[in-house]
């Protein structure tokens, strides 16, 4: 019973954690009990062997190799700026980017350039220009998507005539001016037409002049849009609603 009590103190004795009184009592017991002394001696030797294990010198090139690996990592890091973030955060950033991309995919108008570049989006239809070359590219919008482009309303007296003039004007200038022209849904009717355009900034005023020749143009929404987005844009996306006189109901519907 007494031996067990002293045995439990061996480790604390080795680590110098016994009080003077406890130490003296244990030493006294060890001087009298051979069995305990052997156990104590064995444990003491075990610890001594561990503390005397030789310290190995690391390979001389170790530091150089690590620094070279860090240099490689730095080169790699320039391709991935979130390298210092923890792995879970890197995955989080990746997921967020994916979700935002998918959201933009749905929200942005199809006339947005990167979208139209991808294959299989909408039905592409080329209209031949005067020389037989494609003059403008028509892209049908996928159903259900909403537009955020400003709308210009072109009121005309004779819709059929104005429509022909508009078509002719767009065909003649589209090669240099239009990036895309796309009717949204099947909105061509006898008295109203809706056209989505993407016009290079430098040709925008030219388009306005031509439209003014055809009919009365309400361009207030476009002006508001441009003043709200003063930064220089390469191209302006807009929608033209062409209506005959007295078609206010249709204008309202098309604006919606």
């Amino acid at each position: 019973m007494e031996c067990r009590k002293y045995e439990s103190q061996f480790n604390d004795y080795l680590d110098g954690e016994l009080s003077l009184k406890e130490r003296e009592a244990l030493q006294f017991h060890l001087s009298k009990c051979l069995s305990c002394y052997r156990k104590w001696n064995s444990l003491q030797k075990t610890k001594e062997i561990l503390s005397r294990l030789p310290n190995m010198d690391p390979p001389a090139h170790l530091s150089a190799v690590v620094m070279a690996r860090l240099k490689e990592r730095r080169l790699h890091k320039s391709q991935w700026p979130f390298d210092y973030l923890p792995r879970w955060l890197q995955l989080g950033v990746g997921a967020a980017v994916l979700i935002i991309s998918l959201t933009l995919w749905q929200v942005l108008p199809p006339s947005f350039s990167f979208r139209s570049l991808l294959p299989g989006q909408g039905n592409n239809l080329n209209i031949s220009g005067p020389s037989g070359q494609p003059a403008a590219k028509f892209t049908t919008r996928r159903g259900g998507s909403q537009t955020t482009v400003p709308v210009m309303v072109l009121r005309v007296k004779d819709f059929s005539r104005a429509d022909r003039e508009l078509e002719s004007m767009l065909r003649s200038i589209s090669g240099s001016m239009l990036q895309e022209r796309e009717p949204t849904r099947s909105l061509n009717s006898s008295s109203a037409r809706l056209i989505d355009l993407k016009v290079p900034e430098q040709r925008f005023s030219h388009l306005l002049r031509e439209l003014h020749k055809i009919g009365h143009l309400d361009q207030s929404q476009v002006e508001l849009h441009r003043s709200a987005n003063p930064q220089k844009q390469k191209a302006i996306s807009l929608r033209i609603v062409v209506v005959g006189n007295g078609s206010d109901v249709e204008i309202h519907q098309l604006r919606k």
């Binding site: 480790n11 680590d15 001696n41 064995s42 444990l43 003491q44 030797k45 075990t46 610890k47 001594e48 062997i49 561990l50 503390s51 005397r52 294990l53 030789p54 310290n55 190995m56 010198d57 690391p58 390979p59 170790l62 530091s63 190799v65 690590v66 620094m67 690996r69 860090l70 240099k71 990592r73 390298d83 210092y84 923890p86």
Partner: protein, 207 residues
């Protein structure tokens, strides 16, 4: 090759100077990291060697530990000592490496390879004289060191790491407690069990 608790050697470097190097590292200064590495590489290399029992694997693991340390040094807030923080990384990396190597039968192959009588001192009566009755007279031969390493390899990683950190490298209970995120009582009881296991493994040599 030298002997003595490496933890004590490391402590001799002034804390302020080390902190200065750490601060520079956090700003991306790789030269300061190289200096920090020179200060700690021997200690870390010996830790990994005792944990894995193989020089090539220890070197490889030490590299990984320092690369991980550089990668994570911006997250080091200085709440603990740099060496404690570095050892936490070392412990994590070592744990993962042991799992990896164990899946590939590395330790079993290591054990089979050490088959000569020289490396199995318990079968060679002459080697029993390696340990003289008093500690002052003990001579730790290469073969006894090999036997100790073999015993360490046979122990579980937890027991091995606590023995290496405390009895080989000389860290205090407080430092161990911080490194292992354990309370001091648990550290003590684990250490006592580990010592007892090693004592049993070396029983023939210690009589």
């Amino acid at each position: 090759m030298g002997t003595g608790p490496l933890a004590q050697q490391s402590r001799s470097f002034k804390h302020e100077e080390e902190q200065l190097l750490v601060d520079r590292c956090r700003q991306g200064d790789r030269d300061s990291f190289a200096q920090l590495m020179r200060l700690h590489q021997k200690q870390i290399y010996n830790f990994t060697y005792r944990m894995l029992g193989n020089e090539e694997e220890a070197e490889d693991l030490t590299q990984d530990i320092f690369v991980a340390a550089f990668r994570g040094i911006r997250r080091f807030r200085g709440e603990a000592k740099f060496s404690t923080w570095l050892y936490r990384i070392a412990l994590n990396q070592t744990r993962n490496r042991i799992k990896y190597l164990a899946r590939r039968d590395f330790f079993a192959r290591q054990s089979r390879r050490s088959g000569s009588t020289e490396e199995r001192p318990w079968e060679n009566p002459e080697l029993l004289a390696d340990i003289a009755p008093t500690p002052e007279q003990w001579t730790l031969t290469k073969s006894l060191a090999t036997q100790v390493q073999k015993c360490l390899n046979q122990m579980g990683p937890q027991a091995r790491q606590i023995l290496v950190l405390r009895d080989v490298q000389g860290f205090s209970y407080e430092e161990l407690s911080e490194m292992l995120s354990l309370n001091p009582g648990t550290v003590k009881s684990r250490l006592h069990r580990a010592r007892a296991a090693l004592q049993k493994c070396l029983a023939d040599k210690l009589e």
